[in-house]
């Protein structure tokens, strides 16, 4: 019996008259890698924000490792040991790479250990050459990588990534894929993404969102060949 690390039941989010997330039931096992896909406005990001505490759902529940976390603040969820990366690069621009990652490690470890962990993750992500550079001066791909380091440095058991590959070069994407695979050795990973290429390269199970609800959930190859999914992606009503 593998532990369920993330579960939502009847998760619903309405903005005024718009239902952005509609009765989503979702389950994720430990060390599972799951991609959330769907066209723009399908409700992936709303779902993501409800799970990470950036939004409080209108209805429904969120559980992590069996504990109800509905309505928790992001910092409370993160404190459980959840690593979160938002859609746009969300980093401290005026601080150096090392400082950024150190701050993330310091939340869970003492000063000395935090430094050691930051150093080691910088090595693993091949950021050594720019460790003392301010984030504001780095290219987009490098910033994404630093943010991944921020997420990974504290050894999370659940990692939530919103479009980690957006705007990256092919080479960067390859490295990203590698890192994500490495993460799944210890953690469950949820990736919100609409780059099909990237999803094919890393995913096994994907969950397809459409109009706020889960359309289907299956292995990536079967999803890709599903006529309904194709129709949704092409904008036709299924």
């Amino acid at each position: 019996m593998v532990e369920t690390v993330l579960e939502t039941s009847g998760l619903t989010m309405r903005f005024g008259g718009v239902t952005a997330s509609d009765n989503v039931n979702f389950k994720l096992k430990a060390r599972e890698l799951r991609c959330l896909i769907g066209p723009n406005g399908a409700g992936k990001s709303t779902f993501f924000k409800c799970v990470t505490g950036l939004l409080t759902p209108t209805e429904g529940h969120v559980y992590m490792r069996g504990q109800e976390v509905t309505g928790w603040q992001p910092h409370q969820i993160a404190s459980l040991g959840v690593g979160i990366k938002t859609q746009t690069p969300n980093v401290m621009d005026a601080l150096s790479v090392h400082e950024n990652i150190w701050l993330a490690a310091r939340r869970f470890y003492n000063v000395v250990e935090a430094r050691e962990r930051a150093d080691s993750i910088i090595d693993r992500l091949a950021l050594g050459a720019i460790a003392r550079t301010q984030l504001g001066q780095l290219a987009h791909g490098e910033r994404q990588r630093v943010e991944l380091g921020i997420v990974a440095v504290a050894d999370p058991w659940l990692v939530l990534l919103d479009e980690p590959a957006a705007g990256m070069s092919a080479q960067d994407v390859d490295r990203m894929t590698e890192i994500i695979h490495e993460l799944t050795r210890f953690a469950a990973v949820v990736i919100v993404e609409h780059d099909m290429q990237f999803i094919r390269s890393i995913a096994q199970t994907v969950t397809v969102f459409h109009q706020g609800a889960v359309l289907m959930e299956d292995h990536v190859e079967r999803v890709m060949s599903d006529p309904q999914v194709r129709a949704v992606y092409l904008g036709k009503k299924a």
């Binding site: 980093v91 401290m92 150190w102 701050l103 310091r106 001066q137």
Partner: protein, 341 residues
Amino acid sequence: MGRSASQDVMITLVVSAMLIWLLPLMISTYTLTVLVIYGMLGLSLGLIWGFGGILCFGQAAFFGLGAYTYAIAAINIGESTLPMILAVLVPAVFAALLGAMMFYGRLTDVYLGVITLVVTLILFKFVNSTAGPQYVIGNARLGGFNGIPGFQTLNVPGDPGAYIWGDPYFYVCAIALVIVFLLVTWLLRSSFGRIAVGIRENEVRMGLMGYDVAARKTVLFAIGAAIAGLAGALFANWGEIVTPNLFSLGQSAEIIIWCIVGGLGTRFGPIVGAAGLAYLKFMLGQQSMIDNTLVMGLILVLFVLFLPRGLVPAVASLLNSIFGRTKRKPRPRRMRRARHG
């Protein structure tokens, strides 16, 4: 981060000892005392704004609260030690409550500005309308517009008859400023300070890392208020009267101008800005050709336009480029001032 902590402390001690020795030879200690007090007040806002990203339009509220707390406590208690402690604690507790209300409500930048401004106005209006005999705390009449004169001023702890005033009072204030400065240095070097800077840079990210941003901002806000309260109490002792003007928006405006002119994101900048501009104001009072307000306004506008980082960082980078120790590229860093509140 270039220097080690002990170097930093040594430099601070040597420089301040030099200044405490040299300055009284040029400016009368009575005037110097108030410059030192304003320096401390500038530092209090410089800490929360420059390092915490909290732009408070009402730092004068804590200054005034400290001064009034001291005056009221001194009238009721007599001996000055406990009133001094209260003058630090009361503004800190008040700020903690106010900060918790604002930060847990996720109020940021402009909204934060409005709330702090409004709270200052409320305090000002309240204190200003307490002239009637019904407004009494213990033996202290609040006095309304005219303020509270005639309270016990600072004495040697334990000996209410031994007043500290004149030159010794200057040394007390100067040493207090050095101690506060060192405490601020230590705070900023600690994890708490580095996390505060992280919050200034990106609140959402720090929250996603698991930091309770609201709690940390509240604590920092309260620390800033405690320093402002101490400055207020020292000011009350210096002026021997407290008036509602301490709470005024004009006073708040001046503190902000000091920080901008001196330089945000530095510890030294707000102190230099405060002392420099207060001295300029004092000098301008001795002439009548040009209106003082006009000069202050022009200084602020010109700094925002042409030197938004302030004097100290500008001078520092100038010195760096002349006596450049390292070959690092000059970094076109512009602090994102208070973007996140």
